[in-house]
């Protein structure tokens, strides 16, 4: 705790004895609580999911589970039910993420124009996010009941009653509606912050040069929005891959497995069927699919332009 001097030039590789012992000890104490928490509650369970997924899935009472290698993965990958939930999850993410991101960007652009009450409109769009994820599906469940308020509005509009969550074709789109109601305003807020960071002089200069609105958006705004867009795209993808609460509250995976996303199926396997090994294998596969897509998104967004 005595040496306060820092070397004027930082060398990349420093030998251990060049560290101040007091400082290293302090660092250890500062880091310890958070690192222990991260290790115990994030990294160890992730590793244990991987280990459990390699164990025997049929556990008899009193018999400890034994190593089964990749058997659970083989069983899953040859099961048409599992492929069904993989397809449903991918379809869900492939529609919801681009749709939400595009809507959030369009609204961010709209609400940064000089229009009356823009701040109030932003607030209205953001409010749904403050409803906890376990609660908003309950509200929508009540609103979309066969005899609920939405159907009565549809009847009044001459469209007629819709089954929503009770129909195999409408249940997944209805879930998409619910999660977009929650998410669009939230992601919009990040894109508005990005738009406000763009120096006005850029746009003014382009306007003087005669660039029309679309050109300015496509050639100036969009390239400068790469960072906030990448954040929204990746965070939104992750959020939708692990989506759980709306499925559990509204449909329970049905009707006819039409909303059986992988995360919900894994939960069912673990706590209803009691098959931890298969559930863990499902979570591992989910993480692999999700991380590959996230890495791909990062690649695409950094490759397609300089800056």
């Amino acid at each position: 705790m005595t040496d306060a001097k820092t070397p004027p030039r930082r060398t990349k590789r420093r030998r251990f004895d060049s560290f101040d012992r007091g400082e290293v000890l302090a660092a250890l104490l500062f880091l310890a609580p958070a690192l222990v928490a991260l290790a115990l509650f994030r990294i160890v369970p992730a590793a244990s999911a991987l280990v459990t997924s390699l164990k025997n899935s049929v556990v008899l009472v009193g018999v400890s589970s034994s190593f089964a290698g990749l058997d659970n993965y083989k069983t899953l990958l040859t099961s048409s039910e599992f492929w069904g939930s993989v397809k449903t999850t991918l379809l869900f993410v492939a529609i919801v993420v681009p749709a939400q991101t595009a809507a959030a960007l369009a609204l961010a652009v709209l609400l940064t124009q000089k229009i009356p009450l823009a701040r109030a409109w932003r607030l209205f769009l953001f409010l749904p996010f403050s409803v906890p994820l376990g609660i908003s599906p309950l509200i929508w469940g009540a609103a979309l009941r066969p005899d609920g308020i939405v159907n009565s509005a549809l009847v009044a509009a001459g469209i007629g009653t819709q089954p929503f969550f009770t129909s195999p074709t409408q249940a997944l789109p209805s879930i998409m509606l619910v999660v977009s109601w929650i998410g669009v305003g939230y992601w919009m807020v990040f894109l508005i912050a990005g738009l406000q960071d763009i120096p006005n002089t850029y746009l003014e200069a382009a306007a003087i040069d005669g660039a029309n609105w679309w050109h300015r958006f496509w050639h100036i705004v969009l390239p400068l929005m790469r960072r906030p867009l990448a954040f929204v795209l990746v965070a939104n993808t992750v959020a939708n891959f692990i989506l759980f609460a709306p499925i559990q509250v509204l449909t329970g995976g049905g009707p006819r497995r039409s909303t059986n996303l992988i995360m919900f199926d894994a939960y069912q396997n673990a706590f209803v069927v009691g098959d931890r090994a298969t559930a863990s294998a499902q979570v591992v596969i989910l993480l692999i699919i999700m991380l590959s897509i996230v890495i791909l998104q990062f690649r695409l967004l950094s490759a397609d332009g300089r800056a």
Partner: protein, 284 residues
Amino acid sequence: MARKGRGLGRFLLRYVLTVLAAVVALMFFLPFFWMVSSAFRPAEEIFAFLSPLSPYALIPKTLTLENFAQLFGGRLGRNVFNSVLITVLTVTIGLVICSAAAFALSVLRFPFRSAVFAVVVVSFLIPFDAIAIPLADTFRTLGLQNTYAGLVLPAIGDGLAIFVLRQFFMGIPQEMKEAARVDGAGWWTIFWRIYAPLSKPALIGAGLILFLGQWQAYLWPLLIITEPSMQVAPVALSQFVGQYEFNFGALFAGATVVSLIPAVILLSLQPYFVRSVSSQGLKE
């Protein structure tokens, strides 16, 4: 944004954009409004006025607080208390341990610093819900089922919060630390008296990350809490649906309470949150 308006064309465009913004915003607001207005009306009125549809379907004909009275007279008052308590604990403990770690990772020099930082980054790439199932088994064997500790512990170490705070601390000039060292200040003093007070925006941002993580939690409390009086409000409300004492009035009242708390906090602190996550947080 552009130069001067071109008379009528500009005016019309502005008019159309305003109408569009208002219509979309009101569509998003309507379900929220319906939730709040249903909370303040007698339960039997909620599904009345629907066929044929009348304006009273949205606007209460009679205002009442009976739903809130029923809600807080029952178990749900306790559940709301649980939610508030564990969120306050999570944010307080989480901010202390996350900012301490961020301080070490940005200010102190020690071996394997970048390796330790890599562990932090990896930990926030694994979504918590994905590992909740194996972790819940461990917590059950440790006897942490149905305890506040079981709800709070997994949420206090947050990789994203550490990341956001570290980025902010890196922007504070090293000279301040060096001057304080010369004056004989210890590391804790430097952290607590210099870095923490200078980092209010980042602390608010990280605090909101921790707050949202806990307040929005659904799967974890569902897995770890079986005792109804220990449950958090959102899960308790969803389990309340379908019970014999269930009525929609109390559901909407509960939903309004658990939504207005984050709404007020988010709306007042939202700029800090967005700045720290999107701008600071993603700069390399």
